[in-house]
Symmetry: none
Subunit: 184 residues, 2 copies
């Protein structure tokens, strides 16, 4: 059975519900590292250095945390933000409900791929090199999108669980071998 040489979680996006409305102007005033321009976008942007993330905060009390390298770090970032808000006197009444919405990962199959051939032999594929150098492969189970590159490197996005990333990468590698697109 083929084994991908390396898989890295590159980005985790999580949605958060606080179940209470927030005064974004107040938050912008009291917390540094925030950007808030409601004419441009309704969410306030809060950047953390550790874990390195950018979180969008909405007046509905919902948030979107992006940029963390693991589900754990996303949770850590959200807890840190809630703590910061409480420290500056913004009363957060409930514990945040956190849901991972998307995981982006990169992997290296360790073998070059003929994308022209792959596009011809695989289903659910899009490959337009003058538009984008990667082949876009939509996997139904797990439901993810894989960007395959000629170098043998790939990007997997759309996963809801870290486990799905590993399953998807194993699966795409098996399919590529079955179809004879790569052999090892």
């Amino acid at each position: 059975m083929p084994k991908a040489k390396s898989i890295h979680i590159e980005n985790v996006v999580a949605s958060v519900t606080l179940n209470q409305r927030l005064d974004l102007n107040l938050i912008a005033e009291r917390l540094p590292n925030t950007e808030f321009d409601p004419d441009q976008f309704p969410g306030l942007v809060l950047r953390l250095e550790q874990p390195k993330t950018a979180t969008l905060i909405f007046n509905s009390g919902k948030m979107v945390c992006t940029g963390s390298k693991s589900e754990k770090d996303a949770v850590k970032a959200v807890k840190k933000i809630v703590e910061s808000l409480r420290e500056v006197g913004i009363d957060i009444k409930n514990e945040p409900i956190i849901q991972v919405q998307n995981i982006v990962a990169s992997a290296n199959l360790g073998i070059e791929i003929n994308l022209e051939e792959a596009a011809f032999l695989l289903e659910n594929t899009m490959y337009e090199p003058e538009q984008f150098p990667g082949l876009i492969y939509r996997m139904r189970d797990p439901k993810v999108v894989i960007l395959l590159f000629g170098s043998g490197k790939l990007v997997c996005t759309g996963a809801k669980r870290e486990e799905d990333v590993y399953t998807a990468v194993d699966k795409v590698m098996e399919i590529l071998m079955e179809k004879g697109i790569i052999r090892e």
Copy 2:
């Protein structure tokens, strides 16, 4: 005969004639829940909570009642407004003449529709998905406009009577089946 799964009247617009001129500044002073900014728009806006409506009142004594969920509620709203005006000392001499001008309804056909195909097979149709996701179908009898969506949901607007909504929805469903765009 096909039956639409659900039809809801979403909005009724009615015009009203009182046959006497009105002092909108006086009304704005004496009634709460009113907005009046003649530089912006010549009509005064009066919002009712029950039935939930927004009514435009003009100095000509004409009004436009919007937002009610039935013809009956539109009449109820107008009567309530006339009563309110009389209560604050504004003498309304005649009974209001009320005419339903537009009824907006939504329905769910319960089956997905290929709009590309529908646009090709139907007449009096406009479909430009990058401008608007719905297909616009102009029915001559009853004279209504139907916005058809890929989900099988639709919006019917332009009807003058509630009955016309039901007729129009039945008719569009029959036409879609006749042309083989949907089958059930």
